[in-house]
């Protein structure tokens, strides 16, 4: 079991709600979250649908282990068609609302249509209401969260909502839950805004009781927790330094995207690293890092909670930001830091606060601003167009101003909300957009980590590290070390990571567990909780099925194998420093073998026998 077997369907146009049984045949094939949500989306919308039209749907979905006692079992996903990429989008978030949805008795919520005025969905177990949100519209995530708690007089209410950036159609707006956890990528928040849906507020008190074999589940989850507690990454490295521990590692190997990926090493990396967040500031005798934090059921606690120096220029006269809040993860730190040439840790932290406060993806924002800075330095964007702001690399004041403008969709911030691809096309230098399928790159330059070039190019949601984190092997030696500078074996490595990750993203668990767990640690937990037989082999098959389902959706949406590509800069301009000096990404050497391993044609289309083997026809 573990699934509640209940789906809540919300028609926003008619303002009606329906309860449906979960399709258990699909649950057995796609598990939950990313996989099951993608299956429902594929079945229910035309892949060619305009992403911001009422015909697109938005699915909030848990996994079978969400809300259970499994370590990190608090994840949920938002699945829709992306306005940034026009590909399938699935953004995964932690925090607490996923478990709350499950505890209220729901596996998933399907939003369809569009309300004729702003609304929010209120759920208290079986009591479901679509309520007016005219007073919430126009407010930030943080203000909306506060207003909903006041309105319902319930401190335990969990809220996922959009901020002003989404309302202003920033194409990479996120859905933020629990103040600073984000379904961050691909513009899922923009889709939510297009439906006039401001928030989902949930209170669930039912518990998650329908575990198939509870004594076995107790044993399996306990054993798995011991593995996490015994591993130095999940027990020590992540709680102490967070994901930000990577800043210096990636810089050292020469794969740190810097100044819109012009460079692969940043001389200010140490000043914005995980270690730097622990250093006591001379200015106020406090560290940037206030504490670490955990999501629901998590025994790792990698989250960062930070406090900016009250005297820092970004918040000097803004006491509303003098409190501790969600701090820098590595992905935000590089995008707001090295990619902009900025080494002011508190300025980066402030920009991150604003991304949380008004709900937009710091990766896409930082990368888009980096492209704008390069075009400004090339004279393609003028000072008049930026509103008088010097948009040079290294200008922390410009970052602060631009993040504030993007949050509200004002001035040049409205332009930045287009994302890098559209911005670079508009200002005449599309080659400066560091994107795949329209989505901005994460924190690993594929000239220095060859396998990541392949995973970026083939990612079903555009450039993304979480769709196949070969960095783990190529750089970090987990589970075993491979050479980041060679292409040999990378197609197989990428496929293995992609398939395994697709299954984990569908389980309700956090992918960070896999720095210690293998599928052999995860399968027994699922097998004890869920009906059916769940083995590591079955999980890999489910993962491969999900990958091909997403691929098929994208092909039906109009994407082709030609979209499995990288920006010219990464294929033609060699890295200037570090171990990768003189190298470009050798995507062309890896892609044909990858297609072959996937059982796809030379054009990147799944062959009939592949689809048949996976039950996709």
């Amino acid at each position: 079991m573990a699934w509640t077997e209940k789906v809540l369907r919300v028609n926003l146009t008619a303002r009606t709600t329906f309860v449906e049984p979960l399709n258990m045949e699909w649950a057995n094939q796609y598990l939950g979250q990313r996989g099951l949500g993608s299956k429902y989306l594929s079945e229910e919308i035309d892949p060619k649908v305009e992403p911001l039209s009422p015909e697109n749907k938005l699915i909030m979905i848990t996994g079978p282990l969400t809300g259970t006692m499994a370590a990190t079992g608090g994840r949920y996903s938002i699945v829709t068609k992306s306005p940034l990429t026009s590909a399938i989008a699935c953004s995964n978030s932690g925090g607490f609302i996923g478990a709350e949805i499950k505890n209220a008795g729901w596996d998933m919520i399907i939003f369809e249509g569009k309300a004729d005025s702003p609304v929010y969905l209120y759920i208290e177990n079986d009591d479901v209401k679509i309520l007016p949100a005219d007073d919430l519209w126009g407010n930030s995530v943080w203000k909306t969260d506060e207003m909903l708690h006041q309105k319902h007089q319930d401190p335990l209410l969990r809220v996922a909502c959009i901020g002003r950036s989404a309302e202003q159609q920033c194409l990479y707006a996120s859905v933020i839950n629990d103040l600073h956890r984000a379904a961050g990528r691909s513009g899922v928040g923009t889709v939510m805004a297009s439906k006039n849906l401001k928030a989902v507020a949930v209170r669930g008190t039912k518990g998650v009781g329908n575990i198939k074999d509870f004594p076995r589940f107790l044993n399996a989850t306990n054993q798995a927790k011991q593995v996490l507690a015994g591993d130095s990454i999940t027990h020590e490295g992540l709680p102490t330094y967070g994901t930000q521990v990577l800043m210096n590692v990636i810089n050292e190997i020469g794969a740190m995207p810097t100044r819109n990926m012009r460079d692969v090493q940043f001389d200010g990396a140490e000043r914005i690293s995980g270690e730097a967040m622990h250093q006591i500031r001379a200015s106020d005798n406090k560290a940037n890092l206030t504490t670490n934090a955990a999501c629901f059921g998590c025994t790792i606690a990698c989250g960062r909670i930070s406090t900016i120096d009250k005297g820092h220029f970004s918040i000097q006269n803004k006491p509303e930001y003098w409190h501790a809040s969600g701090g820098l993860e590595y992905e935000a730190a590089w995008a707001l830091g090295s990619d902009l040439g900025i080494d002011d840790l508190d300025a980066l932290t402030y920009a991150n606060f604003i991304c949380n406060e008004d709900g937009f993806d710091p990766i896409s924002f930082g990368s888009t601003l980096a492209a704008a800075m390069e075009m400004y330095e090339q004279g393609l964007i003028s000072k008049a167009q930026t509103g008088g702001i010097e948009l040079n690399f290294g200008n922390a004041e410009a970052l602060v101003k631009m993040v504030e403008l993007t949050a509200k969709g004002e001035g040049f911030g409205k332009e930045l909300g287009l994302g890098s691809k559209r911005l670079c096309e508009k200002y005449g230098n599309p080659d400066l957009s560091m994107t795949v399928k329209g989505q901005e790159f994460p924190a690993y330059d594929p000239r220095g980590i060859q396998g990541m070039g392949l995973t970026y190019a083939t990612s079903n949601r555009g450039a993304c590290h979480l769709r196949g984190y070969t960095v783990s092997s190529e750089v970090l030696g987990v589970p075993e070390k491979t050479d980041p500078l060679t292409t040999e074996g990378k197609p197989e490595l990428a496929k293995a990571f992609q398939d395994a990750t697709a299954a984990i993203d569908s389980s309700g668990l956090c992918v960070f567990t896999t720095f210690a767990w293998t599928l052999d640690d995860i399968a027994p937990q699922l097998d004890a909780a869920c009906q059916g037989d769940w083995t590591a082999e079955k999980l890999l098959e489910v993962g491969e099925r999900i990958w091909n389902l997403e691929r098929q959706f994208n092909l039906d949406a109009g994407l082709t194998g030609k979209d499995d590509n990288l920006p010219k800069r990464l294929l033609k301009e060699a890295a200037k420093t570090g171990p990768a000096k003189g190298k470009v990404n050798e995507l062309g050497k890896m892609l044909p073998e990858y297609y072959q391993l996937r059982g796809w044609t030379a054009d990147g289309v799944p062959k009939q026998e592949t689809l048949q083997r996976l039950g996709l026809v």
């Binding site: 130095s232 990454i233 020590e236 490295g237 992540l238 102490t240 330094y241 967070g242 994901t243 930000q244 521990v245 990577l246 210096n248 590692v249 050292e252 190997i253 020469g254 140490e270 995980g274 270690e275 990698c302 993860e329 590595y330 992905e331 590290h465 979480l466 984190y469 960095v471 783990s472 970090l476 030696g477 987990v478 070390k481 050479d483 992918v511 960070f512 720095f515 570090g578 171990p579």
Partner: protein, 83 residues
């Protein structure tokens, strides 16, 4: 000859007292191996998980025979990960 030696994350306390940042310059004898330098700082094999010379990973079984050159930059991490 002189090389640069850098420690990160939980290994930082093994740097000489008073070290600012991650790096110290170390004088070693010509012909010294990478492992000899690691041993000089009392870093055991389990702690020295990611060992890089000039940004390139050196596996455990090659550290004894890896002869350092002047101006080499050695950087070491324990087992770490993020994303």
């Amino acid at each position: 000859m002189q090389v640069t030696f850098k420690l990160y994350a939980s290994l930082m306390p093994l740097l000489p007292p008073g070290t600012k940042g991650h790096a110290v310059n170390v004088d070693i004898d010509a012909g010294s191996s990478l492992q000899q330098l690691i041993d000089q700082f009392n870093i055991d094999d389990q702690q020295a998980f990611l060992v890089m010379v000039n940004g390139v990973y050196v596996p455990p079984d090659a550290r004894h025979s890896y002869v350092l050159k002047p101006q080499d930059v050695v950087a070491i991490w324990p087992k770490v990960a993020g994303g």
